[in-house]
């Protein structure tokens, strides 16, 4: 089977070519003039809340994130505050970028746990954000739900996340889109909040 078969066949109007071109130009122009007007109104301080372009004015405005998005890693904790991670090195093994470095340690005071990481570093300069580490973890100890996308540093070493930092990160729910049960987006709290500032 030709892979193109999965596309819809062209309708009669589309085959005529010109009407489709005109429709395209119409759509582009509509946005152009709409944005132009809104931006002018904003610049003249007539309608401040109007969002001009579909482009988001980062960093004043932050884009709502979808929960499936993979953002900076964090390590989860047990109830008593110790890391859930047992240093099984599954994530290290599966990581295609080889950017996780774990050193295990014995935890003899609690024979039910026995093993914990002595150090746990992720080099975000190498990480490709594939999320395999999260999938591989048998303990649900590593997650990529911090909502932190702003990962930059002036040095390469600064890109290395250590265990301490990762254990203290919390998921930032407010940056995420919320859904109704039916799957409709109900709130973009963060977005609204930044708009009203």
């Amino acid at each position: 089977m030709n892979i193109h078969d999965k596309y819809k066949p062209l309708t009669f109007w589309e085959k005529l070519y010109l009407p489709a071109i005109i429709a395209g130009i119409w759509l582009t122009s509509k946005h152009f003039f709409r944005n132009l007007t809104l931006h002018i109104l904003r610049a003249l301080r007539i309608r401040r809340s109007a969002m001009g372009a579909v482009t988001i004015q980062y960093p004043e405005f932050l884009r709502p994130l979808f929960p499936r998005l993979r953002t900076m890693h964090r390590l989860t904790k047990r109830e008593d505050g110790t890391p859930r991670c047992v240093a099984c090195m599954m994530c290290e093994t599966v990581c295609p970028a080889n950017c996780i470095y774990i050193i295990a340690d014995e935890k003899l005071e609690d024979p039910q746990i026995e093993k914990m990481p002595k150090s746990f570093d992720i080099d975000l300069g190498l990480c490709i954000f594939c999320g395999y580490c999260v999938e591989a973890c048998p303990e649900d100890a590593i997650r990529m739900d911090t909502g932190i996308l702003e990962i930059s540093n002036l040095t390469r070493n600064g890109m290395v996340l250590d265990m301490e930092t990762m254990l203290n990160l919390e998921p930032r729910q407010d940056r995420y889109v919320k859904y109704t049960k039916e799957g409709d987006i109900v709130s973009q709290e963060y977005l609204k909040q930044s708009k009203s500032e």
């Binding site: 093994t93 470095y101 050193i103 295990a104 014995e106």
Partner: protein, 552 residues
């Protein structure tokens, strides 16, 4: 001899063979936990069930001897179902600690579950709790929750070491493997229980949590710990070198050789490799000037040392020069050394034997008092005082004290092991030129003028000859640390600098030259030595002795 049909293939086997062994001869793998070819058969784990025609029930393959005309099925639905059920049974109380467990990756529960289990568990009961992380001996940790009571370790301690430390206590699902009250699993071979434990119940204190087994690469080798030369696998960490803080060799495991060590090795050898990645390793050529060590490049070191050696010989004659080789060196190293010292420099005072002050532990199983892997090889190669009509090591030291010896070339030895400290100090301080070639710093190296770094046994290819005259190969597992080099390369380079080149590029070249020159090794080659080594001519008898000790 009975004929038997297994899965449709007919095979004729020795009388008394069990079904599991017959299947093995056909290359059919029947899962097993409690069966170990080196131990007695108990048939307690029941994973090896097979169907034998005209027998009403499934039978254990490990305990059933073959009879003529037997027809066995190892893979039909009935058998597979039984295996699944046995696995489900074994895992009723087994905690699935796999993320923590050091056996994960080489665990027979995991492997067989993936091959034969894959059932939906019917269990809702809580698992029976037992003791975890129990320190039962100097080398072994026990997690009795993980134990599947196969009794291999118990039989090992009863039958092989005959030390009877372990037992299974209580009944039913409270049954538990433990050392007898007041006892520890403390014998010279305790590490083997870890190897044969099919699950992660017995783990190695030395290895626990250091790394995961799937990062390790195996290289076949021979243990340099004593003159038995047990066959081993060197497990080294190539995939995650940063893991172990510079420790490249993670562990040694015995490798099966029916003629030498069968499945076993001693703890002394097993844990004796730590010097390889130790801080005391000599990593670059060094020279002592006014009491301080200073690093040199190899070129400068070879130049300086060759010049000084030549000067000494020119000035004081060959009899003022002593050479102490070592039975820690491979046949190749010793042969190159002999060429260099005897043929290039025409020295006579060459010896290798330094008798240890304290006699090493010896038993009638594997361990030998001679803690060197290649004493026999050194004798065969003729590098002892007797063969060269020169001075013995003790005489050399005495001569040195009287200032008649002007230079000493010492390979690998820590003379302190054979003589007392004061004696060594008195002798070496009187000699003008002391060259130490070896792997680690010790008293002798500290007293030398020059130190040359040699590679250790995991960093070279070569051969050792064990006490029974068996030549066995060792293989390079990791690169030599720092600037260190195999001994034969150092001798080759020195020899070239003094005008006589040795055309060797690989250890095999040296070995081939050796085979041509030394009668005892006639006709050998690396191919012929193979995996399990080969006996030198005239050694059949002692080899049998060796086997006898093992079987007894």
């Amino acid at each position: 001899m009975p004929k038997i049909t297994i899965d449709g293939t007919e095979i004729e086997v020795e009388k008394g063979t069990t079904v599991i062994q017959a299947a093995e001869q056909l290359g059919i793998e029947i899962p097993r936990y409690c069966y170990h070819p080196g131990l007695s058969i108990v048939g307690v784990c029941r994973i090896c069930l097979v169907e034998i025609e005209r027998m009403p029930k499934l039978q254990v393959a490990c305990y059933t001897p073959v009879t003529d005309g037997m027809v066995v099925h190892t893979n039909n639905e009935k058998v597979l179902q039984a295996r699944r059920a046995v696995l489900e049974f074994l895992l009723i109380n087994h905690p699935l600690d796999c993320p923590v467990c050091d056996q994960a990756g080489e665990c027979w529960l995991q492997n067989f579950y993936m091959q034969h289990g894959l059932y939906d568990s019917k269990m809702f009961e809580d698992k029976v709790k037992k003791q975890k992380a129990l320190d039962i001996g100097p080398n072994v940790m026990l997690d009795s929750e993980r134990c599947i009571l196969c009794s291999r370790c118990v039989r090992f301690c009863d039958e092989i070491t005959e030390t009877f430390e372990l037992g299974i206590f209580n009944r039913g699902d409270h049954a538990e493997l433990l050392p007898y009250p007041g006892q520890e699993l403390d014998n010279k071979y305790s590490g083997n229980t870890i190897d044969i434990c099919p699950v992660g119940a017995l783990t190695d204190k030395d290895f626990r949590f250091r790394t995961r087994v799937w990062y390790l690469t195996e290289t076949p080798s021979v243990c340099p710990g004593c003159s038995t030369g047990c066959n081993i696998s060197v497990h080294h960490n190539d995939k995650r070198p940063y893991k172990a803080g510079g420790i490249r060799i993670s562990r040694l495991k015995p490798r099966y050789n029916p003629e030498v060590n069968q499945w076993w090795m001693c703890d002394e050898g097993r844990y004796g490799f730590t010097y390889v990645d130790d801080d005391s390793r000599i990593v670059a050529p060094q020279k002592k000037t006014r009491g301080r060590w200073q690093e040199l490049s190899w070129n400068d070191a070879i130049d300086e040392i060759a010049n000084k050696m030549k000067d000494t010989i020119d000035k004081h004659g060959a009899e003022a020069f002593g050479v102490i080789l070592s039975p820690q060196m491979t046949n190749e190293d010793l042969f190159a050394a002999k060429r260099f010292f005897k043929e290039t420099l025409e020295l006579e005072n060459i010896d290798f034997e330094v008798a240890a002050r304290e006699k090493g532990y010896e038993d009638d199983f594997l361990m030998k008092a001679d803690k060197n892997p290649n004493t026999e090889g050194a004798k065969k190669l003729g590098v002892s005082a007797m063969d060269n009509s020169g001075l013995e090591v003790a005489q050399m030291l005495a001569e040195a004290k009287d200032k008649r010896l002007k230079a000493l070339y010492i390979c690998h030895h820590d003379l302190e092991k054979g003589f007392n400290k004061e004696e060594v100090k008195a002798a070496l301080s009187k000699v003008d030129l002391v060259i130490f070639q070896g792997t680690n710093q010790n008293l002798t190296s500290n007293l030398a003028n020059y130190c040359l770094p040699s590679a250790t046994f995991v960093e070279i290819d070569g051969t050792f000859t064990n006490f029974a005259g068996r030549v066995q190969r060792i293989h390079k597992a990791v690169e030599p640390l720092g600037e260190s080099k195999p001994d034969w390369i150092i001798f080759r380079n020195l020899s070239k600098r003094l005008g006589k080149s040795m055309p060797y590029f690989e250890p095999e070249d040296v070995f081939n030259a050796l085979v041509e020159e030394v009668d005892a090794f006639k006709g050998l080659s690396y191919e012929k030595i193979g995996e399990h080594g080969i006996l030198l001519d005239g050694h059949e008898e002692s080899a049998e002795k060796e086997m006898g000790a093992l079987v007894a």
